[in-house]
């Protein structure tokens, strides 16, 4: 591999990492509250509200139904509004985060639902309010699942960021398509795949380690 290509590879890795982490953080910050609202407003939840629950459920399902490649294009006006351009790494973060947030909301929702209702009852019996239940019971008890779900989301984002390369986002996917595929640079393709394997494995390993440390359930 030539030094030029090698530098391109390094730059692509950096772009992929930035896209994945930035959109990951945004989807976590947006997705976890969405998941909490879904669980709290559900029937028998701590803030039962049929209307909010249904409306939010539909919006999340709506976003999750749109294929990512379509979402990428459809969100171009919004991206321009927010970032000023629809091209480049920063621009790709917008559709990536908007696609990942509802996904992560559903993943986190599953973990929150698995919290033993007895624990919520215990907190209520102690005189705790809803905020107490969220802070002291729901989130800490679901934390291993919340982190494991975030790991899954990050790995999914690595894949999705490659697709964002199609609208000029840069990153490893872009490199693989333009050099590895279109220019028949097999070496680049192999390097990209190898880097992706390392990246995904690294994320999964870190996530698993963190979950193991956080999980005190029997």
């Amino acid at each position: 591999m030539s030094p030029v290509l090698f530098n391109l590879l390094l730059q692509s890795i950096w772009e992929t990492v930035v896209m994945t982490l930035a959109s990951g953080v945004i989807s976590f910050v947006a997705g976890l509250p969405l998941a909490l609202i879904l669980v709290a407003t559900d029937r028998g939840g701590i803030a039962e509200n049929f209307l909010v629950n249904r409306a939010l459920g539909w919006v999340i399902n709506g976003f999750r139904s749109v294929p990512f490649i379509i979402l990428l294009v459809a969100l171009i006006p919004l991206t321009r509004l927010l970032v000023g351009t629809s091209l480049g790494t920063a621009a790709a973060i917008v559709p990536l985060a908007i696609a990942a947030a509802p996904y992560y909301a559903r993943v986190a929702e599953v973990s929150l639902r698995e919290v033993d209702p007895g624990l919520i009852e215990a907190a209520r019996a102690m005189g705790g309010n809803r905020w107490t239940i969220v802070r002291e019971v729901l989130v800490p008890e679901a934390l291993p699942g919340i982190v494991a779900g975030f790991t899954v989301t990050l790995v999914t984002l690595v894949g999705a960021s490659a697709m964002a390369g199609a609208i000029g986002a840069g990153g490893l996917g872009d490199l693989a398509i333009r050099y590895g595929y279109q220019r028949f640079e097999t070496g680049v393709m192999i390097a990209v795949v190898a880097v992706l394997i390392v990246l995904v494995s690294g994320i999964q390993w870190l996530g698993d380690r963190l979950v193991a440390r956080l999980d005190h359930r029997a």
Binding site: E121, E136, P140
Partner: protein, 368 residues
């Protein structure tokens, strides 16, 4: 919040229950009147009235589905009745909003069948959680939590997570947690049902100690008569959402009025041996009598006197004396020959003259 003095020995004066305000003695800790609660067509509580006296341990017993869980959850507002009044320390809590109930719940401790400890918190943090909710400072709640762990004998487990504890230890943590905010009332929801008999005994002893030492009023629900027998002062028997029998434990044990109570008691009272019970008939040479007697003198030789007093042809079949809260309670079975005809009458008259309850259960043929 008053009386937050932290001492290594739990100080009795810190508990409102022991040192009530003037006039508070007349106010029962809990008073329910006409409480009903339905789930669809099922009436879980049906016009139920009940009073819990200050400082007592009241056992509410019933089969599953009798409404026990609904009843105990009504006492801290986790469940809302359809109608009726529920007075806690004289204040009606029916109709209060969730935020109005929260300060009341902070003064009521609750322990659960499955312990319900937070798996993500250490033992000391679990015990301190009610104090965190009540707004205590970090240092104060840690000191208080350690004091409670000392009380339940788990000081060495303060930094452990609940998953590292045995069932009995978990329930001790549950008890420490329930007591941390110095409640006047402790609710126990089948707290020993998930524990083995030995651990059950230890936990019940702890509850009784706490009741005596700290003066905390305890309401416990259970389906096991043994639990009520071990620590209850009074018992209320619940069936189909109603209290069908209520009274001092030794009294109900010695003289159960309803069929349900009798059947709930079958495990803890002497029963007619099965090989005799299966042969009971309307005819036979021997009459089988069931005798119940409560008399403080039973322990001082009265029981032997009674047996001495009976003719040699009367046979002692089964039973004996049991002690319920220092009250000797006798229950036994006799066989009396049908001939001579006056014998059964004489024996019955004698037993009744010493205030025993005598029941003719039937006849059996010889040999018994």
């Amino acid at each position: 919040m008053t009386g937050r003095n932290v001492t290594s020995q739990p100080s009795a004066t810190a508990f409102a229950a022991v040192d009530p305000a003037p006039g508070a003695l007349e106010t029962p800790v809990v008073a329910l009147s006409g409480v009903s609660r339905s789930f669809g067509p099922t009436r879980a509580l049906d016009d139920l009235s009940l009073t819990v006296r200050r400082g007592e341990i009241l056992g509410i017993i019933g089969r599953s589905g009798a409404g026990k869980s609904t009843l105990i959850r009504c006492l801290n507002g986790l469940e809302r009745p359809d109608s009726g009044r529920i007075e806690i320390e004289g204040r009606n809590i029916v109709g209060l909003s969730e935020s109005e109930l929260q300060p009341i719940r902070r003064k009521i401790g609750m322990i659960f069948q499955h312990f319900n400890l937070m798996s993500a918190k250490t033992v000391v943090d679990n015990v301190a959680l009610p104090l965190k909710i009540a707004g205590w400072s970090k240092a104060e709640r840690r000191a208080r939590a350690l004091e409670l762990l000392d009380l339940v004998g788990l000081s060495d487990k303060a930094g452990a997570y609940p998953s590292a504890l045995s069932g009995g230890q978990k329930q001790r943590v549950g008890i420490a947690r329930a007591l941390s905010a110095r409640p006047a009332l402790l609710l126990s929801d089948e707290a020993t049902s998930a524990l083995d008999p030995e651990t059950t005994r230890a936990i019940l002893t702890l509850l009784k100690d706490i009741n005596r030492k700290l003066g905390v009023t305890v309401v416990l629900i259970t389906h096991e008569m043994e639990v009520v027998r071990t620590i209850g002062d009074r018992v209320a028997v619940l069936e189909a959402g109603r209290i069908v029998e209520e009274g001092e434990v030794w009294h109900v044990f010695s003289d159960p009025k309803t069929e349900l109570t009798q059947s709930l008691l079958s495990g803890v009272r002497p029963q007619l041996p099965a090989h005799v019970a299966s042969r009971l008939a309307t005819d036979g040479q021997e009459v089988v009598l069931g005798v119940d007697l409560t008399d403080p003198a039973l322990g001082d030789g009265l029981f032997v006197d009674i047996l001495d007093h009976l003719p040699a042809t009367v046979h002692f079949l089964h039973g004996g004396i049991d002690h319920i809260h220092d009250q000797p309670v006798a229950r036994f079975f006799l066989t009396v020959p049908r001939e001579p005809a006056a014998l059964v009458e004489d024996v019955t008259t004698y037993l009744r003259s010493i205030n025993a309850r005598v029941e003719v259960l039937g006849h059996v043929s010889r040999p018994v």
